[in-house]
Symmetry: C3
Subunit: 259 residues, 3 copies
């Protein structure tokens, strides 16, 4: 239904892999490279020119790379100068500014807004309507839930831009704001609707406005099972590389011995 070639425009300088489908009304601008088997749904803009395009006659669109086996849902705007590993997946109306770098198998929810100049590792899942400020540095297997905001200006307005840093396997729950320059370790859990203005060490649960560290996440019991749910990789494997293998076995073979 969506792939009829109606109003599709592809720059001559774009490189399109094998078995790529591009939806109606989508535009692929200069110097975009799309890997094999990737789907770009309808009404997308891939390789959106950066701000200087509007002002400079000599503007050259920077390279944009979308990995193989990706699924970009409709109405995405992805700026030129970003790079996405294989298996990248997005909801609708996602906006991603330039100089964003994502590893493999990342997922972004509907209306999520990536401000550019950020790095994400592999298997990061962002839910709907997440806002990631510039200079954020995110590890692998990080989950970020709806309406979370990562900020970067400590004394607004200023010319300082100091992003948030988050370690592997950490979770930031719905509606939370993380203040500029804050460091969150690995295997952390940040509770819903929190305001995080402190450093959070590995394996800590931080909750509240303002957020305080409450306990070690390994002490948290599941209401359903009565057992600890964290570290979550032992209890959740859907879509993860340890699916059907188990985290215990996978971690030893993949350099995560200490997780």
């Amino acid at each position: 239904m969506k792939f009829n070639g109606r109003n599709v425009f592809i720059s001559e300088s774009a490189i399109i892999g094998k078995n790529v489908r591009i939806g109606d009304n989508s535009v692929i601008y200069d110097h975009v490279e799309i890997g094999d088997n990737t789907i770009i749904a309808n009404d997308c803009v891939i390789g959106e020119p950066t701000n200087s395009y509007y002002h400079s006659k000599d503007y050259v669109n920077p390279k944009t790379i979308i990995g193989a086996n990706s699924l970009i849902r409709s109405h995405n705007i992805i700026y030129a100068g970003s790079e996405f590993g294989e298996g990248f997946s997005t909801g609708h109306r996602v906006t991603i500014r330039e100089n964003s770098k994502f590893g493999k198998h990342c997922r972004l929810g509907t209306v999520t807004d990536i401000q550019g100049y950020v790095t994400f590792g592999d298997y990061c899942w962002l839910h709907s309507n997440v806002h990631i400020g510039q200079q954020s540095k995110i590890g692998n297997f990080v989950f970020i839930y709806p309406y979370v905001v990562f900020t970067n200006d400590p004394h607004p307005p200023s010319n300082i831009c100091t992003g948030v840093t988050i370690g592997d396997f950490s979770q930031v729950a719905v509606g939370t704001v993380v203040l500029p320059g804050i460091e969150i370790g690995k295997h952390c859990l940040i509770g819903a609707q929190s305001l995080v203005g402190i450093k959070v060490e590995d394996y800590q649960l931080a909750v509240g406005n303002p957020a305080k560290v409450l306990k070690d996440v390994r002490e948290l019991k599941s209401r359903e099972t009565g057992k600890s749910h964290y570290p979550w990789p032992y209890n959740f494997e859907r879509g993860m590389p340890w699916e059907n293998i188990g985290f215990e076995k996978w971690k030893l073979e993949n350099g995560y011995e200490n997780d």
Copy 2:
């Protein structure tokens, strides 16, 4: 201005009622049924195929039903497999996933994001940028204000999905997060920017992060009139079925004797 038939595509399997207007650049996919006198504005996608469309050759689009006298504003994405009663109305850029069921005369504000597998009664009004997680169950005459989020995963990430339940006539104010599986009764008022992790009984006011029950809503006085504003149906009738009749008379004739 908006109905020129430019770039409008309608599936041959769609059933379009009498006096329906469809705006420029809108697409109506397979098995969509649109009731009489409904307006679909420009740049809408109605009957968006679900995820399996991208992977299955045998995909058949499930039925989508939009009731009579509805107004879908521009840039909506409504997935196949949902059903909307008559007089349905939306703002711009609304996204509604599959298996969403809305009663009559519901309204959704701009950028609102319905995650699918939800049920709403009649006359529910959601303001801008509301996010409703899967498995939410909402009664009749429920008002939800901007940037409210209903969640469903008690131990993220997990495979448990336990939605929020809300009774008739309740109100959830701006910026509030309701945690997974929480039950809110009827005629409740949840204050702005709250984090609701407790059960809220009928007629209670709950406020804060974390939310606590403060008092019975019937004790709340209006600053303007000095009288109680709640239960609000006695004091607000615009767009409600008791408009020009009064709630007292209407409730007796419509099965709401106890409200």
Copy 3:
């Protein structure tokens, strides 16, 4: 790349200035006036008809004025009956309802939602995903950060609409909700994730849920310099009219002697 004249539709009653560029798939409806050197990017709707268009045969689109040297990024929906001073700039997917009045050099971030019937002075900068309720009155040089919401209904649902008022040079940080009818003075700073239900006098810092006044902003020291960052115009001039002049000199020549 974006200005090929593909699917561009411009009403015969629109007045387009010199050197205006209009992107592909954009629509300019009746009685829109666009100043010289302005850029309207792709997929925009300028002069969106108001609600009565759908119901009235005699509908006449009210005038919409977009000042010179503006940059409207892609996928904006700007209703008819609004007015924007020169140098207006927006991110993507901005929605602006009717009867919105903005002064010169205002900027709105991606997905921001202006509900109409609002006034903004000059040099107001709104970041991504800000929601401004009807009847808000904002001064000059006001900065509003992501996911801030200004409300207007004191007893929801009611027919009362009493907006927020904010004085010159004030800042409202990320994720904050300002309650109906609240007055915030000039040179104020409202902290992140706050719920503001009190009047905030000039130069005050208010923080928290619920927000309380903590101190005078002039007592706040920058972590980087050890000196006070506020009043910020003395320490930030990028894009401001005192750039390269200094605020001290500028204020004396422009009627801000007391700031």
